[in-house]
């Protein structure tokens, strides 16, 4: 028992939590922008995967991991924009469009992997974004081992959460974004360009999902592996709902998922059956969704295409 309590509070578990939560943070924040504007983005998984691949490809050719990161953001943004065109301009069913992006991403990355690297399954190792040590913080007991030495993208993800919270809740554009997702007709009547706002939001959404994918491929690892996002886009989507469409909430949800994941690996090692332990993150999610966080209310116009009158 004492072993388990020690494990629950172990600094290495918290450090692993941050590492596992980072791709979820980026992607979940992306999901929030899109959903707040009224566009459901189930294609986050595919956008992450494209981002993960683009990061490796650009890093491979330029030798710069940071350019790779930029490439991932652009590739993700492009996918977001495509989802926007389908669901805003052509008013396609947003779930179908998002699913199409997921399937497309799976095929495209496999195809390009073979075309560019002539290798199936795995890319060669490419330059990656290395971890950094923060001079003073890393010396603080308990806190230091957790946040003192992490990947720059971990800090960037945390920064993205804070900035997004300010943008969505404290700026004029944020107010417009929310109004477009709640009541597009009313927003339109006061002169807000609904289409443009939605395009921007869904493009940002793709860009952030791309960043989440890049973390996996060129920050946490240094190569692309087919299907390496392994469902994280959907977990991020759950984090959006879990976090009540609120960046700080999504941060909490991402950390929670990351913690459950980090914990399950260590619980396995002390002899608890693996199948049971691997269910842990999902069971905790269901418990949390069922009661602990209260009712999660989606933006009212989420999922509904807007048709301008006149």
């Amino acid at each position: 028992m004492w072993d388990i309590i020690k494990l629950l509070l172990n600094t290495t578990v918290f450090a692993a939590t941050l590492r596992m939560a980072t791709p979820l943070m980026f992607t979940a924040i992306g999901g929030i922008y899109s959903e707040r504007s009224g566009v459901v983005n189930i294609g986050l998984e595919g956008m992450m995967l494209i981002g993960a691949f683009a990061a490796v490809a650009v890093s491979y050719f330029t030798g710069s991991a940071w350019l790779g990161f930029l490439g991932a953001i652009l590739a993700g943004a492009l996918m977001g924009f495509i989802h926007g065109v389908a669901s805003i301009k052509y008013r396609a069913n947003q779930v179908v469009s998002g699913t199409a992006i997921n399937i497309f991403a799976g095929g495209l990355t496999v195809y390009l992997q073979r075309l560019i690297f002539n290798m199936a399954g795995v890319s060669p190792a490419v330059p990656r974004i290395n971890d950094v040590t923060i001079p003073l913080i890393s010396k603080i007991p308990w806190i230091g081992p957790i946040i003192g030495k992490q990947n720059p993208l971990v800090y960037l993800a945390l920064l993205t959460v804070v900035i997004s919270h300010i943008v969505i809740f404290k700026t004029v554009w944020g107010l417009r974004l929310r109004s477009v997702g709640e009541h597009p007709r009313a927003a339109d009547s006061v002169g807000i360009n609904v289409y443009k706002t939605r395009y921007v939001a869904v493009t940002i959404s793709g860009a952030l999902a791309g960043a989440g994918g890049a973390y996996l491929s060129i920050a946490h690892l240094s190569r692309f592996v087919e299907g390496m996002t392994a469902g994280r886009g959907f977990i991020a989507l759950a984090a959006v709902i879990f976090g009540k469409w609120n960046p700080l909430g999504a941060l909490g949800a991402s950390l929670f998922f990351g913690y459950a994941d980090a914990l399950q690996m260590r619980l396995q090692e002390i002899g608890i059956p693996t199948q049971l332990v691997q269910m842990l993150p999902y069971i905790l999610t269901m418990i949390a969704l069922a009661g602990f966080i209260g009712r999660a209310v989606a933006p009212k116009a989420s999922g509904e295409p807007y048709v301008k009158e006149g």
């Binding site: 290495t12 692993a16 590492r19 596992m20 791709p23 195809y111 073979r114 002539n118 290798m119 199936a120 399954g121 795995v122 190792a125 996996l216 946490h220 690892l221 240094s222 190569r223 592996v225 087919e226 299907g227 390496m228 392994a230 994941d261 980090a262 690996m265 260590r266 396995q268 090692e269 693996t274 199948q275 691997q278």
Partner: protein
Amino acid sequence: MARKLSILVVVALVFGLLSGAAFAEQVRVGLVLSEGGLGDQSFNDAAFRGLLRAEQELGIYKSYVEPFDISEMEDHQRFFADAGMDLVIAIGFTHESAMYAVAEDYPDVRFAIVDTVVDMPNVASLVFEEHEGSFLVGVVAGLMTESDVVGFVGGMEVPLIRKFQVGFEEGVKYVNPNAQVLVGYVGDFNDPGRGKEMAISQSERGADIIYHAAGGTGLGVIEAASERGFYAIGVDSDQDHLAPGTVLTSMVKAVDLAVYEVIKSVVDGTYTAGVRSFGIADGGVGTSEFRFTKDVIPQSVLDAVADAKAKIIAGEIVVTDPTK
């Protein structure tokens, strides 16, 4: 597109084959790869090497196809069987159910399948003694560990992967009874991120050598090893080059050998259906050649590996096969 191309390639090859068959009593072999395809630096590439070797050394006529996904397996097998191939080889367990159907429809065609057992009178099932090969890398790990803690990271907890785990554990304990083997399963074969975290977690508990049997997930194990400065052990193909010096050795499955041998048996007229198991004795499983770790592995360890090998062949060591 890929599918159309693959059909085109097959058609072209079959035309070539029909014209070739007219003036030679060549043995004709059709190889259906797994959906991973050529370039995987593992299974498919190894199978293809076996086919090429057979072409060069035995003068067979070869034809091959790269399926795009599992739903195509039956079409491709059927196509080769229908084209009058002497032997149709399918790579990987994803061919299993299709092969039952096709082998039944073509009782006069000889088939072979790699890595799984298809119990039909005209199918040779080519499987490997992964537990024996894992025992050998376990010997390396057991002798090389300084902390007396080593780790095993599996993809999914399925019987095949258990074979790797049990063989490894027995190998470690055989040379180092005090050593502890940490065992973790990621639950996925394509999640290198979690593979890396699992390996980090084991290294934080003291493991200084970690063996993976986890496909793409295992690449995360190798990544963690090179970042944190412990050793990894690769699997299936020679993965020593993925992180030279960090990957101590790899447990290699000689798929090329299995493919070559079954073709040779058809050429020699000694082909028989049923299970053919490739183990240590025939070079079907074993360690890599320590290309990058010759300097760190002392001769005494290599001698111990050779000794264990000899004893397994002689039957003095019996490695547990958990699937039996």
